[in-house]
């Protein structure tokens, strides 16, 4: 892009400021997690790992972390199991009633998550499903499913069908073709979809807070509830641990699939 010097200068400064806007809240949180102050207020004082030691030793934090991790893994697995066959069918050939199927599959995108969570809470309690973990699992599968579906569909679109045709000509069964030809080709898409699905579940608040109780509280809900009663830097420390998970995830995606490809830009 050719630009004169002044435009370039303005453009670069604007971009830099917007990037600062994007990371400032995260930096402030992380800076306070090391503060020796007894209150989580700016500016941080001194430098200590005490809050990290304290948070990691907290039993309710550990329990909440386990709940979140378990939910994220389980709902991602479930979404993958449900979405992959659906994506295959939608991608290939003419499906009877495809329009209805597609409308239902896209419904989580139209219905706000906040309302999906409320509807699910009301529904599960009226039909007598009282397992908090079970209900959270159902809810998290609902919100991760469309993302997995979308990434799998996107990778199927880029599939080289001539390979499958060649295998078929050479006598491979449709199962063999699926496992040996299709799956390896869409693997990067599946991995990216799973990582995103994990994060959507791990980060969710809007659906989970309707369904949780004090014994079974995913991390964001736990954190949100703590904020009402705890004002020391341990809140910033828990938040920083969640930020760390996010950073690891972004680096993983960049490593495995490439962020550009995964985000479709």
């Amino acid at each position: 892009m050719t630009m004169n010097r002044f435009s370039t200068f303005v453009f670069v400064v604007a971009t830099a400021l917007i990037l600062v806007f994007l990371i400032a809240p995260l930096l402030v949180v992380v800076s306070l997690s090391f503060s020796q102050n007894l209150l989580a207020t700016f500016p941080p004082k001194g430098f200590t790992f005490d809050w990290y030691a304290q948070v990691i030793a907290q039993e309710d934090f550990q329990r909440s972390f386990k709940t979140s991790a378990l939910l994220a893994v389980a709902s991602t697995f479930m979404s993958l199991m449900l979405a992959t066959p659906a994506a295959l069918a939608l991608n290939r050939g003419i499906l009877p009633g495809a329009a209805i199927v597609e409308t239902v599959l896209l419904s989580p995108m139209i219905l706000p998550i906040l309302i999906a969570g409320l509807a699910l809470t009301q529904f599960t309690s009226s039909i007598g499903l009282h397992s908090t973990m079970g209900n959270l699992f159902i809810g998290h599968t609902l919100i991760t499913l469309p993302y997995v579906l979308r990434t799998v569909t996107a990778s199927l679109k880029q599939l080289d069908h001539s390979l499958e045709e060649a295998a078929s000509t050479l006598g491979a069964s449709s199962m063999t073709i699926f496992w040996l030809i299709t799956i390896p080709q869409i693997m990067p898409g599946l991995v990216a979809g799973c990582i995103f699905s994990f994060m959507i579940s791990f980060d969710d608040f809007s659906l989970s807070f309707w369904l949780s109780n004090t014994e079974t509280e995913p991390l964001p809900v736990f954190l949100h509830n703590k904020m009402a009663s705890v004002f020391d830097p341990s809140i910033a420390t828990m938040s920083s641990l969640m930020i760390a998970v996010g950073v690891i995830v972004v680096l993983l995606i960049e490593r495995i699939v490439g962020l550009r490809k995964a985000m479709g830009v």
């Binding site: 809240p25 402030v28 906040l114 938040s239």
Partner: protein
């Protein structure tokens, strides 16, 4: 006999479709039906009534929250659209290093919980000297801002932060599809940078912009955490009102009526976007 292929075709999407139908579509219809129900002693049922909607629209407080939801969502969309352009241009056309760095910095906050990000804004915007913004202003010998947190502007700022990445991504994809030669041609024919941007880049990036704006608008209008954490009494939105009606007032029909209005807003935004795209023909032009 129906052949095996047809059976497989029907069978493959069945589990996902059933799962969503049972746990999303049916519960949603149930909830929405509550909006025209009457609550008596903890159960909701007949007689059917439009009274809940009438009460919602009749109350100046509720009407105010409805319009404030629209206002906050529109400001957030506008701010996100403006801030997204420099980032998306860098991602789409910048040199390899800056483009990658920008993309990482845009995506990273996206995979962090809204609770964490809004907490960051609580600290940044806190009223009084311990707020980071006020702290910075004091260092610059500028007067502190009297009231920042617990206003609708705090909600707009934090929502912009939360949803900005969702507009940068489709916009970068759109920008990347514009042939660089078109901008070059405009520049060679004497257009200034601003002119080239306004008459070439901006119109051709419309599909990404419109898609992104729709996503940001619908998600903002349906948000709960951000207005709940930093909106306070003056920055309330429909999501907050909904939660109060359900968890504090136990008024299920009212809550359901608010939910209906929120879904209607989302559907209206989807519909308007579809129409806008179809009318301007940008969909076809950009698919080539």
């Amino acid at each position: 006999m129906i052949n095996r292929k047809t059976l497989v075709q029907i069978g493959l999407p069945l589990p996902a479709t059933l799962f969503l139908a049972v746990f999303l579509v049916i519960p949603a219809l149930f909830l929405l039906s509550y909006s025209v129900g009457t609550q008596t002693a903890g159960t909701v049922g007949f007689p059917l009534t439009l009274g809940n909607f009438a009460r919602l629209l009749g109350s100046p407080t509720y009407r105010g929250i409805f319009f404030q939801t629209l206002e906050i969502s529109l400001w957030t969309t506008l701010a996100s659209a403006i801030l997204a352009y420099p980032l998306a241009l860098t991602v789409a056309r910048g040199n390899a290093f800056f483009s990658r760095l920008t993309l990482i910095l845009v995506v990273a906050p996206m995979v962090m919980s809204v609770v964490v990000r809004t907490y960051g804004w609580q600290l940044l915007l806190a009223n009084g000297p311990q707020g980071v913004v006020n702290y910075a202003l004091t260092i610059l010998h500028a007067p502190m801002l009297p009231r920042l947190l617990y206003t609708k502007w705090a909600v707009v700022i934090a929502s912009t932060h939360v949803f900005l990445p969702l507009i940068v991504l489709p916009l970068s994809a759109s920008l990347a599809r514009i042939p660089a030669s078109l901008v070059e041609a405009a520049r060679m024919l004497g257009a200034s940078d601003q002119r080239a941007f306004l008459s070439v880049t901006l119109p051709l990036s419309m599909p990404g912009l419109v898609t992104g704006c729709m996503i940001v608008f619908t998600l903002t209008s349906a948000s709960y955490v951000t207005p709940q954490m930093i909106g306070g009494a003056t920055g309330a939105m429909l999501g907050v009102l909904l939660e109060q009606q359900i968890n504090t007032v136990y008024a299920w029909p009212m809550g359901a009526a608010i939910a209906v209005i929120m879904v209607a807003l989302t559907l209206a935004a989807h519909g308007a976007t579809g129409r806008l795209m179809a009318r301007s023909g940008v969909v076809r032009a950009n698919k080539g």
